[in-house]
């Protein structure tokens, strides 16, 4: 599958990296959840600084969730996205919304980094891993915005090129011809995404895995009994 030659590096970046990243992600996340459940936390610092917190956390999270959902939708439904984009006005609406979300993310991230640096209490609870996370987000968001501006229209070519590439990885028949010809900024975006997936389970990013969905269907009060048989609300 992997051969030396002109595309050797591409093979490392776009075939080896993704598989290694996903394997690390799964193994480390599961092991950490089973043996170090205590370390799964959002590690919120709102308690230490309550005002700037809003201006960073809220735009960042709503922005990044929108962007990530966009990527996932284009990956799952590439044909539908292409069909939507076939009308120019709809394409512009989609691209503009995505771009606004990206700007929100960037603004939020900037506010968060500023807060981490300037507030002495928040600085105290910042670990080196947090800086790795911040740095990778900066790379990821800036490269994404660059791509959105200079390589339009991303939503269409993601659906026609990136989605088949990702599907080729999923089906274990990796085909990098979709990505080898892409501009280097797009490549950077993809490679740093694999890197993020690889180190995410070591960092605070694991809070994404424990986002609280059961709250929506559980009863308000929780009662636990000694006996497993008597566990009831």
């Amino acid at each position: 599958m992997i051969s030396t030659g002109p595309f050797f590096l591409d093979q490392i970046f776009f075939i080896v990296f993704p598989y290694v990243a996903v394997i690390i992600f799964l193994l480390v996340s599961i092991r950490r959840y089973r043996t170090e459940a205590f370390t799964f936390s959002s590690l919120s610092s709102q308690f230490l600084e309550n005002k700037q917190h809003f201006w960073g956390l809220v735009p960042f999270h709503f922005g990044i969730i929108t962007i990530l959902l966009g990527h996932v939708i284009a990956f799952l439904f590439p044909r539908e996205v292409l069909a939507w984009n076939s009308v120019p006005l709809r394409l512009y609406i989609l691209e503009a919304s995505a771009f606004i979300a990206a700007l929100l993310t960037l603004i939020g991230l900037g506010a968060l980094i500023f807060r981490r640096v300037t507030d002495p209490k928040v600085k105290k609870v910042t670990s080196w891993a947090d800086w790795v996370v911040f740095a990778s987000f900066v790379v990821q968001i800036l490269s994404g915005i660059y791509v959105a501006i200079f390589h339009s229209w991303g939503s269409s070519w993601f659906a026609s090129l990136a989605a088949p590439y990702l599907w080729s990885l999923v089906t274990l028949s990796p085909d990098i011809t979709y990505v080898t010809a892409m501009p280097w900024m797009v490549k950077l975006h993809i490679v740093s995404a694999w890197l993020m997936i690889a180190f995410a389970p070591f960092t605070r990013l694991v809070h994404i895995l424990v986002a609280p969905n059961p709250y929506f269907w559980r009863k308000p009060q929780v009662v636990r009994w000694y006996s497993l048989l008597r566990n009831r609300v």
Binding site: S41, S44, N50, P120
Partner: protein, 496 residues
Amino acid sequence: MNVRSQISMVFHLDKCIGCHTCSIACKNIWTDRKGTEYMWWNNVETKPGTGFPTKWEDQEKYRGGWELKEGNLRLKSTSKAKTVTNIFHNPSMPSMDDYYEPWTYKYDELFNAPEGPDQPTARPISMVTGEYINVEAGPNWDDDLGGSPVYAESDPNLKGLTEDQRQQLFAIERLVFFYFPRICNHCLNPSCVAACPSGALYKRGEDGIVLIDQKRCRGWRACVAACPYKKTFYNWSTGKSEKCVLCYPRLETGQAPACFHSCVGRIRYLGVLLYDADRIEEVAKLRDEQLIDGHRSLVLNPHDPAVIAAARANGIHDSVIESAQASPVYKFVKEWKLALPPHIEFRTMPMLYYVPPMSPVMANRGDDTVSSVSGEFFHDIEDSRVPLQFMANLFGAGHQGKVVYALKKQKAVRTYRRAKTVGDIPMETAEKMLREADCSIEQAEAVYNLTSLCTFEDRFVIPPMHREEAIEMMRDPAEHKTAVGFGFMEPPKRGL
């Protein structure tokens, strides 16, 4: 009838001397770790005063507890939909500024200071950043400042007091305060539990202690915002929330919680209450003025054969039922109606009750003598130095009736005992007062005994916690013993 048992508490405020021994006992056992320095699972407040965190009773600010909306109980701070929008930034979350920034001193500077003309000083340093700080607030910053225009005047319980009553609280030589020790109330309808997005908070079925599962807590902070008593705390170091555990490891070995055990004034009582879990929601929806009676009606008579049968049917151990029958809390809450829940209008159904304090005797100083302003030996309850409306805001959901009842009965018992032991009050007067206070002579003696002569065993009736059943119900005890010994540790299993 769905009978459950609850470890419940009474704090007798008339006996509290505000020494903070309880707070220190708790602090030394539970919250001297990094990230918890600012927490006081047990704290003692001066009332009138702003408390800890500052003005915690002001739910316009903190949005804790429940509210009735179109006949339904709703959390003030959150809901299923709001969890989505507020999980990144919780708008009702207090910050460290609302509590205080914990500090210590650079003691080594005292020892290492070079010789010089001045005494060396130990400057305060923040326990968060390690930098020098100017201390501007502390956990007990308004201690004893009952008449302070800065602190006492900001007490949310002063709402509804007339200008005269307010002035009375701040007049020179008439100012008054009392102490208000607080721990987690281990409520029947806990808003912290209902607010947790992760379902990490829970109430223990067998004893009602409310705990936070540290392995499931993700630090979403909803419990901190939702608790109207602000008795869940966020550990800024571990990223998990923590709260009073009612010293359950002590209770499980038959010892009173540390704050109870160490109480110098012997103001704390602990015992089992049996209650009807099916009626909690119905009671929590009552109108404000019905809440105390409703809350009391949840508590079941442990001597009633029907209650005993229902308790047994629900798997409550006979030893727990016996413990409920001997419970000092049951006497204070249900038989004597002396103990009242704090801020029942938050509708969490707290299971820590307070006996409201008597005010000091009112007197005027003449030229040379001090004389009582009241015709009676003790002052009239209606003219208490702490205005009744203030007490009512704290213990009666704004209504004075239950508070007056409890104070009148305490006063009658005092008068009766004085008539009996000192004899300067005619016994007929004392007995008349007892009758008016809905108190028999036997009850007066019982109140006196449990208030003044109470031993350790009288104050703390701790049921056997039957943790062994936890093992029995899950697996064969003999097998469990050979596998892991006692407890729930990981089995010593040989690795691959």
